[in-house]
Amino acid sequence: MFIDIDCVQEKKYKQNAFGDYFVSKRYPQDKRLIAVLSDGLGSGIKANILSCMTATMLLRFIEKNIKIKKAAEIVMNSLPVCQVRHISYSTFSAVDCFDDGKISVVEEGNPDFVWIRGTEVLKPEFTIIDSVNFKNRHMKVYKMNAQLGDRFIFCSDGVTQAGLGGGVLKLGLRRSGLIDLLKVKLANNPDIASHDLAKYIVQQAKLVEPNRKPIDDISACVLYYREPRKSLVFTGPPYRQSSDREFAFIFKNFVGKKAVCGGTTANLLSRELNAKITMGRLISIDSLPSCLEMEGADLVTEGVLTLTRTFEYLDSKIPDSNNAAVRLSRFFLDSDEIYFMVGAKLNEAHYDPTLPVEIAIRKNIVKKIAEVLEKKYFKKVNIQYM
Protein backbone atom coordinates (compact mmCIF):
# COMPACT_ATOMS: atom_id res chain seq x y z
CA MET A 1 0.00 0.00 0.00
CA PHE A 2 1.09 3.55 -0.59
CA ILE A 3 0.45 6.21 2.04
CA ASP A 4 -0.66 9.49 0.49
CA ILE A 5 -0.28 12.24 3.08
CA ASP A 6 -0.74 15.97 2.92
CA CYS A 7 -1.59 18.87 5.16
CA VAL A 8 -3.27 22.14 4.26
CA GLN A 9 -3.22 25.14 6.58
CA GLU A 10 -4.76 28.57 6.95
CA LYS A 11 -3.40 31.29 9.22
CA LYS A 12 -5.47 33.06 11.84
CA TYR A 13 -6.87 36.30 10.45
CA LYS A 14 -4.35 39.15 10.55
CA GLN A 15 -1.48 36.92 11.65
CA ASN A 16 1.57 36.56 9.46
CA ALA A 17 2.82 33.24 10.81
CA PHE A 18 1.16 29.85 11.12
CA GLY A 19 0.46 28.87 14.72
CA ASP A 20 0.08 25.21 13.71
CA TYR A 21 3.01 23.23 12.41
CA PHE A 22 3.06 20.09 10.32
CA VAL A 23 6.06 17.93 9.58
CA SER A 24 6.34 14.54 7.91
CA LYS A 25 9.16 12.28 6.86
CA ARG A 26 9.32 9.08 4.86
CA TYR A 27 11.81 6.29 5.46
CA PRO A 28 11.66 4.31 2.20
CA GLN A 29 14.00 1.55 3.36
CA ASP A 30 11.85 0.82 6.42
CA LYS A 31 8.63 1.47 4.47
CA ARG A 32 7.75 3.86 7.25
CA LEU A 33 6.25 7.32 7.50
CA ILE A 34 6.19 9.62 10.53
CA ALA A 35 4.12 12.79 10.69
CA VAL A 36 3.36 15.26 13.46
CA LEU A 37 0.78 18.03 13.57
CA SER A 38 1.15 20.47 16.45
CA ASP A 39 -0.89 23.47 17.57
CA GLY A 40 1.07 26.01 19.62
CA LEU A 41 -0.43 28.00 22.47
CA GLY A 42 -1.80 31.35 21.29
CA SER A 43 -1.19 32.43 17.72
CA GLY A 44 1.36 34.09 15.47
CA ILE A 45 5.11 33.81 15.96
CA LYS A 46 4.87 32.58 19.56
CA ALA A 47 2.57 29.71 18.60
CA ASN A 48 4.68 29.04 15.56
CA ILE A 49 7.83 28.56 17.67
CA LEU A 50 6.04 26.32 20.17
CA SER A 51 4.40 24.13 17.55
CA CYS A 52 7.52 23.97 15.39
CA MET A 53 9.65 22.85 18.34
CA THR A 54 7.05 20.29 19.41
CA ALA A 55 6.58 18.78 15.96
CA THR A 56 10.23 18.57 14.99
CA MET A 57 11.39 17.25 18.37
CA LEU A 58 8.67 14.61 18.45
CA LEU A 59 9.48 13.49 14.93
CA ARG A 60 13.12 12.93 15.92
CA PHE A 61 12.15 11.07 19.10
CA ILE A 62 9.74 8.76 17.29
CA GLU A 63 12.29 8.18 14.55
CA LYS A 64 14.74 6.94 17.20
CA ASN A 65 12.00 4.75 18.77
CA ILE A 66 12.13 6.61 22.12
CA LYS A 67 9.08 5.90 24.30
CA ILE A 68 6.36 8.44 23.59
CA LYS A 69 5.69 9.17 27.27
CA LYS A 70 9.30 10.16 27.85
CA ALA A 71 9.45 12.07 24.56
CA ALA A 72 6.33 14.11 25.36
CA GLU A 73 7.66 15.02 28.84
CA ILE A 74 10.97 16.19 27.37
CA VAL A 75 9.13 18.31 24.82
CA MET A 76 6.82 19.89 27.42
CA ASN A 77 9.79 20.65 29.71
CA SER A 78 11.72 22.19 26.84
CA LEU A 79 9.11 24.60 25.51
CA PRO A 80 9.48 28.29 26.38
CA VAL A 81 6.99 29.60 28.97
CA CYS A 82 4.32 32.00 27.70
CA GLN A 83 4.63 35.44 29.37
CA VAL A 84 0.86 35.95 29.35
CA ARG A 85 -0.32 32.59 30.64
CA HIS A 86 2.83 31.46 32.48
CA ILE A 87 2.61 28.00 31.01
CA SER A 88 4.34 26.23 28.17
CA TYR A 89 2.02 24.30 26.00
CA SER A 90 1.31 22.95 22.57
CA THR A 91 -0.95 20.15 21.48
CA PHE A 92 0.04 17.45 19.04
CA SER A 93 -1.02 14.45 17.00
CA ALA A 94 1.83 12.14 16.03
CA VAL A 95 1.49 9.30 13.52
CA ASP A 96 3.94 6.48 12.98
CA CYS A 97 2.84 4.22 10.15
CA PHE A 98 4.10 1.53 7.81
CA ASP A 99 3.21 0.50 4.26
CA ASP A 100 1.76 -2.82 5.54
CA GLY A 101 -1.02 -0.95 7.37
CA LYS A 102 0.42 -0.92 10.90
CA ILE A 103 -0.27 2.50 12.33
CA SER A 104 0.10 4.05 15.76
CA VAL A 105 -1.15 7.46 16.78
CA VAL A 106 -0.47 9.54 19.87
CA GLU A 107 -2.64 12.56 20.57
CA GLU A 108 -2.48 15.24 23.18
CA GLY A 109 -4.92 18.11 23.19
CA ASN A 110 -5.81 18.04 19.49
CA PRO A 111 -9.32 16.99 18.41
CA ASP A 112 -9.64 13.21 18.11
CA PHE A 113 -8.65 12.07 14.65
CA VAL A 114 -11.22 10.50 12.32
CA TRP A 115 -10.65 7.02 10.88
CA ILE A 116 -12.82 6.48 7.81
CA ARG A 117 -13.24 3.30 5.78
CA GLY A 118 -15.37 4.06 2.73
CA THR A 119 -17.86 6.40 4.38
CA GLU A 120 -17.99 4.53 7.69
CA VAL A 121 -16.28 6.05 10.71
CA LEU A 122 -14.42 3.49 12.81
CA LYS A 123 -13.92 3.79 16.55
CA PRO A 124 -10.49 2.55 17.54
CA GLU A 125 -9.54 1.61 21.10
CA PHE A 126 -6.95 3.65 22.92
CA THR A 127 -5.01 3.77 26.16
CA ILE A 128 -4.46 6.89 28.22
CA ILE A 129 -1.09 7.95 29.55
CA ASP A 130 -1.09 10.74 32.13
CA SER A 131 1.65 13.30 32.28
CA VAL A 132 4.03 13.06 35.26
CA ASN A 133 4.75 16.76 35.66
CA PHE A 134 1.67 18.43 34.26
CA LYS A 135 -1.79 18.06 35.69
CA ASN A 136 -4.71 17.60 33.32
CA ARG A 137 -2.44 16.62 30.49
CA HIS A 138 -2.80 13.15 29.12
CA MET A 139 -2.07 11.41 25.90
CA LYS A 140 -4.24 8.99 23.97
CA VAL A 141 -2.30 6.17 22.37
CA TYR A 142 -3.85 4.18 19.50
CA LYS A 143 -2.54 1.09 17.74
CA MET A 144 -4.42 0.09 14.61
CA ASN A 145 -4.22 -1.85 11.38
CA ALA A 146 -5.25 0.09 8.31
CA GLN A 147 -6.66 -1.42 5.15
CA LEU A 148 -6.46 -0.34 1.55
CA GLY A 149 -8.71 2.70 1.08
CA ASP A 150 -8.65 3.77 4.74
CA ARG A 151 -8.25 7.43 5.58
CA PHE A 152 -7.10 9.12 8.77
CA ILE A 153 -7.98 12.77 9.21
CA PHE A 154 -6.15 14.89 11.75
CA CYS A 155 -6.92 18.51 12.44
CA SER A 156 -6.24 21.35 14.80
CA ASP A 157 -9.06 22.82 16.89
CA GLY A 158 -9.27 25.60 14.28
CA VAL A 159 -11.35 23.12 12.24
CA THR A 160 -13.65 21.71 14.94
CA GLN A 161 -14.21 25.12 16.53
CA ALA A 162 -14.67 26.97 13.24
CA GLY A 163 -17.67 29.31 13.44
CA LEU A 164 -17.82 29.10 17.24
CA GLY A 165 -19.90 31.85 18.82
CA GLY A 166 -21.06 33.49 15.64
CA GLY A 167 -22.60 32.85 12.27
CA VAL A 168 -24.73 29.79 11.61
CA LEU A 169 -23.03 27.29 13.90
CA LYS A 170 -23.21 28.54 17.48
CA LEU A 171 -21.14 25.66 18.81
CA GLY A 172 -18.76 25.61 15.90
CA LEU A 173 -18.32 22.93 13.27
CA ARG A 174 -17.36 20.31 15.88
CA ARG A 175 -16.05 16.85 15.15
CA SER A 176 -19.53 15.63 14.21
CA GLY A 177 -19.84 18.41 11.63
CA LEU A 178 -16.46 17.50 10.20
CA ILE A 179 -17.54 13.85 9.92
CA ASP A 180 -20.74 14.87 8.09
CA LEU A 181 -18.70 16.90 5.63
CA LEU A 182 -16.27 14.04 5.09
CA LYS A 183 -19.03 11.49 4.52
CA VAL A 184 -20.71 13.59 1.84
CA LYS A 185 -17.42 14.45 0.13
CA LEU A 186 -16.18 10.86 0.13
CA ALA A 187 -19.50 9.50 -1.12
CA ASN A 188 -19.25 11.84 -4.11
CA ASN A 189 -15.52 11.51 -4.62
CA PRO A 190 -14.25 8.22 -3.17
CA ASP A 191 -10.76 8.47 -4.74
CA ILE A 192 -10.03 12.04 -3.70
CA ALA A 193 -6.32 12.69 -3.09
CA SER A 194 -5.14 13.66 0.38
CA HIS A 195 -4.18 17.15 -0.70
CA ASP A 196 -7.60 17.83 -2.20
CA LEU A 197 -9.49 16.49 0.81
CA ALA A 198 -7.32 18.48 3.25
CA LYS A 199 -7.88 21.60 1.16
CA TYR A 200 -11.63 20.95 1.13
CA ILE A 201 -11.74 20.62 4.94
CA VAL A 202 -9.84 23.89 5.41
CA GLN A 203 -12.07 25.69 2.91
CA GLN A 204 -15.22 24.45 4.59
CA ALA A 205 -13.93 25.45 8.03
CA LYS A 206 -13.08 28.91 6.73
CA LEU A 207 -16.54 29.23 5.18
CA VAL A 208 -18.35 28.84 8.52
CA GLU A 209 -16.13 31.39 10.29
CA PRO A 210 -17.80 34.79 10.78
CA ASN A 211 -17.04 36.86 7.66
CA ARG A 212 -14.86 33.94 6.54
CA LYS A 213 -12.02 35.30 8.67
CA PRO A 214 -10.41 32.47 10.68
CA ILE A 215 -10.37 33.19 14.41
CA ASP A 216 -7.75 30.51 14.93
CA ASP A 217 -5.14 28.72 12.84
CA ILE A 218 -6.78 26.00 10.76
CA SER A 219 -4.92 22.82 9.78
CA ALA A 220 -6.14 19.59 8.25
CA CYS A 221 -3.92 16.60 7.59
CA VAL A 222 -5.14 13.61 5.60
CA LEU A 223 -3.50 10.21 5.40
CA TYR A 224 -4.82 7.87 2.73
CA TYR A 225 -3.82 4.24 2.12
CA ARG A 226 -4.13 3.50 -1.53
CA GLU A 227 -2.67 1.54 -4.42
CA PRO A 228 0.46 3.22 -5.70
CA ARG A 229 0.03 5.15 -8.93
CA LYS A 230 2.39 3.51 -11.37
CA SER A 231 3.91 5.12 -14.41
CA LEU A 232 6.33 4.17 -17.14
CA VAL A 233 8.77 6.32 -19.09
CA PHE A 234 10.15 4.86 -22.29
CA THR A 235 13.18 6.78 -23.51
CA GLY A 236 15.73 5.90 -26.19
CA PRO A 237 15.74 3.06 -28.70
CA PRO A 238 16.95 -0.37 -27.51
CA TYR A 239 20.58 -1.26 -28.23
CA ARG A 240 19.54 -4.08 -30.54
CA GLN A 241 16.97 -3.12 -33.09
CA SER A 242 15.74 -6.71 -33.11
CA SER A 243 14.34 -6.14 -29.58
CA ASP A 244 12.26 -3.09 -30.58
CA ARG A 245 9.07 -5.06 -30.89
CA GLU A 246 9.46 -6.91 -27.61
CA PHE A 247 10.04 -3.69 -25.64
CA ALA A 248 7.27 -1.87 -27.49
CA PHE A 249 4.82 -4.52 -26.32
CA ILE A 250 6.07 -4.26 -22.74
CA PHE A 251 5.23 -0.56 -23.04
CA LYS A 252 1.83 -1.32 -24.53
CA ASN A 253 0.89 -3.83 -21.83
CA PHE A 254 2.01 -1.71 -18.88
CA VAL A 255 -0.87 -0.83 -16.57
CA GLY A 256 -0.57 2.80 -15.50
CA LYS A 257 0.34 6.13 -17.03
CA LYS A 258 2.86 6.15 -19.86
CA ALA A 259 5.27 8.73 -21.22
CA VAL A 260 7.61 8.60 -24.19
CA CYS A 261 10.71 10.83 -24.25
CA GLY A 262 12.45 11.00 -27.59
CA GLY A 263 11.55 11.51 -31.24
CA THR A 264 13.17 8.33 -32.49
CA THR A 265 11.63 6.44 -29.58
CA ALA A 266 8.18 7.77 -30.44
CA ASN A 267 8.69 6.71 -34.07
CA LEU A 268 9.74 3.25 -32.95
CA LEU A 269 6.63 2.79 -30.80
CA SER A 270 4.42 4.25 -33.49
CA ARG A 271 5.83 1.78 -36.01
CA GLU A 272 5.70 -1.29 -33.77
CA LEU A 273 2.32 -0.58 -32.22
CA ASN A 274 0.74 1.01 -35.26
CA ALA A 275 -0.11 4.14 -33.26
CA LYS A 276 -0.51 7.46 -35.00
CA ILE A 277 1.57 10.48 -33.93
CA THR A 278 0.19 13.98 -34.29
CA MET A 279 1.32 17.38 -33.11
CA GLY A 280 -0.17 20.80 -32.54
CA ARG A 281 0.72 24.03 -34.25
CA LEU A 282 3.48 25.10 -31.85
CA ILE A 283 7.03 23.95 -32.56
CA SER A 284 8.44 25.12 -29.28
CA ILE A 285 7.44 26.47 -25.87
CA ASP A 286 10.14 28.07 -23.68
CA SER A 287 12.84 26.92 -26.15
CA LEU A 288 11.91 23.25 -25.75
CA PRO A 289 10.26 21.17 -28.49
CA SER A 290 6.51 20.91 -27.95
CA CYS A 291 4.76 17.73 -26.88
CA LEU A 292 3.34 15.34 -29.43
CA GLU A 293 0.26 13.18 -29.19
CA MET A 294 0.28 9.43 -29.65
CA GLU A 295 -2.44 6.85 -29.11
CA GLY A 296 -1.66 4.73 -26.06
CA ALA A 297 0.67 7.29 -24.44
CA ASP A 298 -0.28 9.98 -21.93
CA LEU A 299 2.68 12.21 -22.77
CA VAL A 300 5.14 12.29 -25.67
CA THR A 301 8.10 14.67 -25.57
CA GLU A 302 11.46 15.19 -27.23
CA GLY A 303 14.25 13.29 -25.47
CA VAL A 304 17.44 14.57 -23.90
CA LEU A 305 16.78 18.34 -23.93
CA THR A 306 13.43 17.84 -22.20
CA LEU A 307 14.85 15.35 -19.70
CA THR A 308 17.71 17.72 -18.87
CA ARG A 309 15.32 20.62 -18.26
CA THR A 310 13.01 18.34 -16.25
CA PHE A 311 15.90 17.48 -13.96
CA GLU A 312 16.61 21.20 -13.46
CA TYR A 313 12.97 21.86 -12.57
CA LEU A 314 12.71 18.92 -10.18
CA ASP A 315 15.95 19.86 -8.52
CA SER A 316 14.98 23.51 -8.00
CA LYS A 317 11.45 24.72 -8.74
CA ILE A 318 8.81 23.89 -11.33
CA PRO A 319 7.81 27.11 -13.10
CA ASP A 320 4.27 28.07 -13.98
CA SER A 321 4.30 27.09 -17.65
CA ASN A 322 3.01 24.42 -19.97
CA ASN A 323 6.24 23.46 -21.65
CA ALA A 324 7.20 19.82 -22.16
CA ALA A 325 9.53 19.69 -19.14
CA VAL A 326 6.88 21.13 -16.82
CA ARG A 327 4.41 18.54 -18.10
CA LEU A 328 6.93 15.76 -17.60
CA SER A 329 7.77 17.04 -14.09
CA ARG A 330 4.07 16.99 -13.18
CA PHE A 331 3.77 13.52 -14.69
CA PHE A 332 6.46 12.37 -12.25
CA LEU A 333 4.97 14.15 -9.26
CA ASP A 334 1.56 12.60 -9.96
CA SER A 335 3.07 9.11 -9.70
CA ASP A 336 4.22 7.05 -6.73
CA GLU A 337 6.18 4.33 -8.53
CA ILE A 338 8.07 5.26 -11.66
CA TYR A 339 9.57 2.74 -14.05
CA PHE A 340 12.14 3.88 -16.62
CA MET A 341 12.88 1.85 -19.74
CA VAL A 342 16.09 3.39 -21.07
CA GLY A 343 17.39 2.51 -24.51
CA ALA A 344 21.16 2.15 -24.68
CA LYS A 345 21.52 3.04 -28.33
CA LEU A 346 23.46 6.26 -28.89
CA ASN A 347 22.69 8.83 -31.52
CA GLU A 348 26.11 9.90 -32.78
CA ALA A 349 24.72 13.17 -34.08
CA HIS A 350 24.16 14.29 -30.47
CA TYR A 351 27.89 14.25 -29.83
CA ASP A 352 28.91 16.31 -32.82
CA PRO A 353 31.27 18.99 -31.45
CA THR A 354 29.78 21.61 -33.75
CA LEU A 355 26.39 21.51 -31.98
CA PRO A 356 25.68 24.84 -30.29
CA VAL A 357 24.70 23.21 -26.98
CA GLU A 358 26.06 20.29 -25.06
CA ILE A 359 23.68 17.34 -25.06
CA ALA A 360 23.83 15.12 -22.01
CA ILE A 361 24.07 11.36 -22.19
CA ARG A 362 20.58 9.95 -21.74
CA LYS A 363 21.62 7.30 -19.25
CA ASN A 364 23.27 9.89 -16.99
CA ILE A 365 20.40 12.32 -17.03
CA VAL A 366 17.89 9.56 -16.24
CA LYS A 367 20.06 8.54 -13.27
CA LYS A 368 20.06 12.13 -12.00
CA ILE A 369 16.27 12.38 -12.37
CA ALA A 370 15.84 9.07 -10.55
CA GLU A 371 18.03 10.31 -7.71
CA VAL A 372 16.13 13.57 -7.23
CA LEU A 373 12.77 11.75 -7.44
CA GLU A 374 13.87 9.32 -4.73
CA LYS A 375 15.61 11.73 -2.40
CA LYS A 376 13.56 14.89 -2.73
CA TYR A 377 10.12 13.55 -3.62
CA PHE A 378 10.30 10.08 -2.00
CA LYS A 379 9.20 8.28 -5.16
CA LYS A 380 9.98 4.65 -5.82
CA VAL A 381 12.05 4.47 -8.98
CA ASN A 382 13.11 1.51 -11.08
CA ILE A 383 15.43 1.76 -14.10
CA GLN A 384 15.69 -0.91 -16.75
CA TYR A 385 18.21 -0.62 -19.57
CA MET A 386 17.32 -2.00 -22.97
Binding site: E302, A349, L355
Partner: protein, 88 residues
Protein backbone atom coordinates in the same frame (compact mmCIF):
# COMPACT_ATOMS: atom_id res chain seq x y z
CA UNK B 1 -9.76 14.82 -59.45
CA UNK B 2 -8.56 16.32 -56.20
CA UNK B 3 -5.02 17.67 -56.35
CA UNK B 4 -2.58 15.98 -53.99
CA UNK B 5 -1.33 18.24 -51.22
CA UNK B 6 2.34 18.97 -50.77
CA UNK B 7 3.45 17.49 -47.48
CA UNK B 8 6.04 19.47 -45.49
CA UNK B 9 7.56 17.80 -42.44
CA UNK B 10 9.69 19.79 -39.99
CA UNK B 11 11.96 17.52 -37.95
CA UNK B 12 11.76 18.28 -34.23
CA UNK B 13 14.33 15.73 -33.12
CA UNK B 14 16.95 16.87 -30.63
CA UNK B 15 19.73 17.60 -33.15
CA UNK B 16 17.48 19.47 -35.59
CA UNK B 17 15.90 21.44 -32.77
CA UNK B 18 19.21 22.72 -31.39
CA UNK B 19 20.54 23.33 -34.91
CA UNK B 20 17.71 25.69 -35.80
CA UNK B 21 14.36 23.92 -36.19
CA UNK B 22 13.17 25.96 -33.21
CA UNK B 23 13.30 28.98 -35.54
CA UNK B 24 10.96 27.40 -38.07
CA UNK B 25 7.76 28.25 -36.17
CA UNK B 26 7.07 30.91 -38.80
CA UNK B 27 6.82 28.16 -41.37
CA UNK B 28 3.92 26.56 -39.53
CA UNK B 29 2.21 29.94 -39.28
CA UNK B 30 2.86 31.36 -42.72
CA UNK B 31 2.51 28.34 -45.04
CA UNK B 32 -1.29 28.22 -44.80
CA UNK B 33 -1.46 31.98 -45.43
CA UNK B 34 0.85 31.80 -48.43
CA UNK B 35 -0.32 28.58 -50.08
CA UNK B 36 -3.79 27.98 -48.64
CA UNK B 37 -4.70 24.30 -48.54
CA UNK B 38 -2.31 23.25 -51.29
CA UNK B 39 0.41 22.59 -48.74
CA UNK B 40 0.23 20.88 -45.39
CA UNK B 41 2.97 21.50 -42.86
CA UNK B 42 3.51 19.53 -39.63
CA UNK B 43 6.19 18.93 -37.04
CA UNK B 44 7.40 15.33 -36.79
CA UNK B 45 9.30 13.57 -33.98
CA UNK B 46 12.56 12.70 -35.76
CA UNK B 47 13.19 12.00 -39.42
CA UNK B 48 16.26 9.97 -38.47
CA UNK B 49 18.39 11.80 -41.04
CA UNK B 50 20.94 13.22 -38.61
CA UNK B 51 22.11 9.78 -37.58
CA UNK B 52 22.65 8.82 -41.23
CA UNK B 53 24.82 11.74 -42.25
CA UNK B 54 25.77 13.19 -38.91
CA UNK B 55 29.40 13.66 -39.87
CA UNK B 56 28.34 16.46 -42.19
CA UNK B 57 26.06 18.13 -39.68
CA UNK B 58 23.34 19.25 -42.05
CA UNK B 59 20.57 19.63 -39.47
CA UNK B 60 17.93 20.99 -39.30
CA UNK B 61 16.17 18.83 -41.85
CA UNK B 62 12.81 19.46 -43.48
CA UNK B 63 11.12 17.14 -45.95
CA UNK B 64 9.00 18.54 -48.75
CA UNK B 65 7.23 15.41 -49.98
CA UNK B 66 10.21 13.11 -50.53
CA UNK B 67 12.82 15.81 -51.05
CA UNK B 68 15.14 16.38 -48.12
CA UNK B 69 16.16 19.96 -47.40
CA UNK B 70 19.39 20.13 -45.45
CA UNK B 71 20.25 23.07 -43.18
CA UNK B 72 16.68 24.16 -43.70
CA UNK B 73 15.64 27.78 -43.51
CA UNK B 74 12.24 29.29 -44.16
CA UNK B 75 13.41 30.64 -47.54
CA UNK B 76 14.81 27.28 -48.62
CA UNK B 77 11.53 25.57 -47.74
CA UNK B 78 9.46 28.19 -49.58
CA UNK B 79 11.72 27.81 -52.60
CA UNK B 80 11.23 24.04 -52.57
CA UNK B 81 7.45 24.38 -52.29
CA UNK B 82 7.40 26.98 -55.11
CA UNK B 83 9.40 24.61 -57.30
CA UNK B 84 6.93 21.81 -56.65
CA UNK B 85 4.01 24.05 -57.44
CA UNK B 86 5.75 25.30 -60.57
CA UNK B 87 5.74 28.90 -59.37
CA UNK B 88 9.38 29.51 -60.23
Amino acid sequence: MEEKKIDVKVCLGTTCFVMGASNLQELIDSVPKRYGDKVEVTGVPCLGLCSIDWKFSKAPYVKVDDDVIKEATIDKVFAAIDKKLGNS
